[in-house]
């Protein structure tokens, strides 16, 4: 990011919830759903006051120029890419002229079925929260929003995570993870969100809903043509594809988990082998030293093993934490979704029984 990231500013007024302007919500849903299935992100502007984070404006980042040839990873790390830092500075300067808060408070990103736990997210948040500890990320799940209600969540990295990151210098050793009491369940902390309309927006919505606005369509049709006609998408019964994809992703994550576990097991075997070698060396030195003592030769210190051997470096536990968190996310999604689905199923059964 374009801000000094060296000093951690004092957590003066931590925020506990986020208030999002309705215009921001619409802008964000438009950008993420138009770009779908590509992962996109943008910057959020606003203020933090009275322990509430107010998100009042947002703008999208341009798609990375090389997109299409590179993986989506490039777009996911967009908030920190050089081109975007410049873009962001230009944009903020211009927005300031029309009296928009020129204060970045985080960024938004789209996600596909809640699969957003990755290194890029963590890196982005570490950088943002170093600049402004109250920064958040808004995750908009496009797939779920087209299913039923808007799925928008606000997160930021937890204090435990930041402490672990600092203590282990970004290496996430097992020791640091346990010492800081960090588990996969609390990498991110969620902030409650509320959506706020301005008075004018309320007036507009009232106007759109008023009978004066309703178009005079086909007089024989009684389907409501109001612009804000209620939406019954959540009664849709096409439930299988969603569940299927979710399970597929869940299994993929489990595979990732095993692969990661394999790396760690390899490290442990390596460590054990090294340790037994050291033990052997110490034994040998000890007996040699006994001989040397008898021959009045200088002895070799037993602590000298450090000169001859080196422990393998422990792989970062961050991947493990992230994959675990991802699996947990998928499981929770399935649970939430199945509760909706089973109620729908029972409703249909009852409904059709009455007919028969």
């Amino acid at each position: 990011m374009a801000f000094p990231v060296t000093v951690l500013p004092e957590l003066t007024t931590p925020v506990y919830s986020a208030v999002i302007d309705s215009g921001v919500l619409l802008k964000l849903t438009k950008h993420t759903s138009e770009a779908f299935p590509a992962a996109v992100c943008g910057l959020l502007l606003g203020l933090d006051a009275n322990s509430v984070l107010q998100v009042t404006h947002a703008f999208p980042f341009p798609p990375s120029e090389s997109s299409g040839t590179t993986s989506s990873n490039d777009d996911a790390s967009a908030p920190r890419s050089k081109a975007n830092v410049r873009y962001q500075a230009d944009m903020i300067r211009l927005l300031k002229e029309v009296n928009i808060e020129a204060n970045p408070v985080g960024y938004y990103m789209s996600s596909y079925l809640g699969g957003f736990f990755n290194q890029a997210l963590v890196d982005n948040l570490v950088a943002l929260q170093a600049a402004n500890p109250n920064s958040i990320v808004l995750v908009h799940d496009v797939t779920r929003s087209s299913q039923s209600s808007v799925s928008l969540k606000a997160y930021r990295l937890s204090a435990q995570f930041l402490a672990t990151n600092k203590a282990s210098g970004g290496k996430f050793s097992s020791e640091a993870v346990v010492k800081n009491n960090l588990t996969y369940l609390d990498i991110l902390e969620e902030l409650p969100i509320s959506i706020k309309n301005s008075h004018l927006a309320t007036a507009l919505l009232q106007h759109l809903d008023s009978p004066a606005f309703t178009r005079k369509g086909d007089p024989t049709s009684f389907v409501s043509t109001s612009a804000l006609a209620p939406n019954f998408d959540s009664l849709d019964l096409a439930i299988d594809p969603y569940l299927e994809k979710n399970v597929e992703f869940l299994l993929e994550s489990v595979d990732d988990y095993y692969a990661e576990q394999g790396t760690f097991n390899y490290f442990q075997r390596q460590l054990a082998r090294e340790q037994s070698k050291i033990q052997q060396w110490i034994q040998k030195t000890r007996s040699e030293n006994a001989l040397r003592e008898r021959a009045n030769l200088p002895t070799v210190s037993e602590d000298d093993w450090q000169k001859h051997f080196k422990f393998p470096t422990e792989p970062s536990r961050l991947d493990n934490l992230l994959i675990s968190a991802q699996i947990n996310q998928y499981c929770n999604q399935i649970e939430e979704y199945s509760s909706v689905v089973s109620s729908k199923l029972f409703a249909i059964q009852n409904g059709l029984d009455i007919h028969n």
């Binding site: 208030v19 309705s22 215009g23 919500l25 619409l26 802008k27 849903t29 438009k30 950008h31 759903s33 138009e34 779908f36 404006h57 999208p60 980042f61 873009y87 211009l94 002229e97 029309v98 009296n99 929003s145 087209s146 039923s148 209600s149 808007v150 928008l152 097992s174 509320s194 959506i195 706020k196 301005s198 008075h199 927006a201 007036a203 507009l204 919505l205 106007h207 049709s221 009684f222 804000l228 209620p230 019954f232 998408d233 959540s234 009664l235 569940l243 869940l250 675990s324 699996i327 947990n328 998928y330 399935i334 199945s338 509760s339 909706v340 089973s342 199923l345 059964q349 059709l352 028969n356």
Partner: protein, 307 residues
């Protein structure tokens, strides 16, 4: 929209077309996405003290034949207006447009907005800039959207395109004829859920709402359906009682909808239902097992490191 039928839309006579650009058809319909309206309102709220109206640029897409224009987003442009002159920061407009265009390559300049319904000489001046050859929408006409955003009166939205009118050549830059064009509000499926969420706060005094879970939104939908059914059945019984005169069209419509209920064999349904439910339960069981395993593993890891 409300102004359907309130005016008659005539396409421009052929002679005017040739004067303008022979091959460009005039837009017959303008589609407005709600997001742009919210941007305009936001801009109104942020206007400088004493400023009566604010203006800005409209971005969007044009259909291939040019008869339909979609307004998809908008951004603010600073301007100073006094009785004698108007000053618009064109440099700002250009830089901002370039930045916007980078992020949304599909959206191009289509016109401009102002937050008062008044059309005056300045409007013509600005309109001519936006439809100019160098930086404007030429050869297409620029769309001018006016939105009444005064809290004391109803919000109303009007859209215009312009044509040159035969006046003295030295007056041409500050005169033009605004032709009203019908407009309608439209949004995509995924924007709809966003708009619906925003709209759910419209009768709320605190003007805020929170994101509801899937199950809660299902409940809400079902409640709405039940309310609608109640309303229909109340209407039907009142017709049967003779208190309300029956309407043949409504009756036909109801019958047509009722006949859409599928007739399924009870056993068949039972089978379908059970197999489906079992699938779902299996998936839930699987996910729960994985979750438990993860928690178990996490606990073991912890004790292993501590010991």
């Amino acid at each position: 929209m409300s102004n359907y039928g309130s005016f008659l839309h005539l396409s421009k006579p052929a002679s005017m077309m040739t004067a303008h650009a022979s091959s460009t058809p005039t837009p017959l319909n303008i589609i407005i996405h709600p997001q742009s309206l919210f941007s305009i309102l936001d801009h109104t709220l942020r206007r400088n003290e004493g400023q009566e109206r604010v203006i800005g640029t409209l971005l969007g897409q044009r259909s291939e034949d040019g008869t339909e224009i979609e307004i998809r987003s908008a951004f603010a442009v600073p301007h100073i207006e006094s009785a004698a002159q108007v000053e618009i920061d064109m440099e700002y407009h250009k830089t901002m447009y370039n930045l916007y265009h980078k992020a949304n390559p599909k959206e191009i300049l289509v016109g401009w907005y102002a937050t008062s319904l008044e059309l005056n000489a300045f409007s013509a001046l600005i309109q001519n800039f936006y439809s100019s050859v160098s930086d404007g929408t030429y050869p297409y006409p620029a769309v001018h959207l006016t939105m009444q955003a005064d809290p004391s009166s109803d919000i109303s939205i009007k859209t215009y395109i312009s044509t040159n009118v035969g006046v003295l050549p030295d007056k041409i830059s500050e005169s033009c004829l605004f032709v009203p064009v019908p407009n309608e509000l439209r949004y995509s499926e995924s924007e709809r859920s966003g708009l619906e969420l925003v709209a759910s706060a419209k009768n709320n005094e605190s003007r805020d709402t929170s994101i509801i879970s899937d199950i809660a939104s299902l409940e809400k939908s079902i409640e709405e359906v039940i309310a609608m059914l109640d309303r229909v059945s109340a209407y039907v019984s009142s017709v049967q009682d003779g208190t309300t005169p029956g309407n043949v069209a409504i009756g036909k419509f109801l019958v047509a909808n009722l006949s859409q209920a599928p007739k399924i064999d009870a056993d068949e349904l039972e089978k379908l239902f059970n197999s489906h439910l079992q699938d779902i339960l299996l998936v839930v069981y699987l996910s729960n097992t994985i979750k438990t395993q993860m928690e178990l593993f996490n606990g073991l890891k912890r004790t292993a490191v501590i010991s």
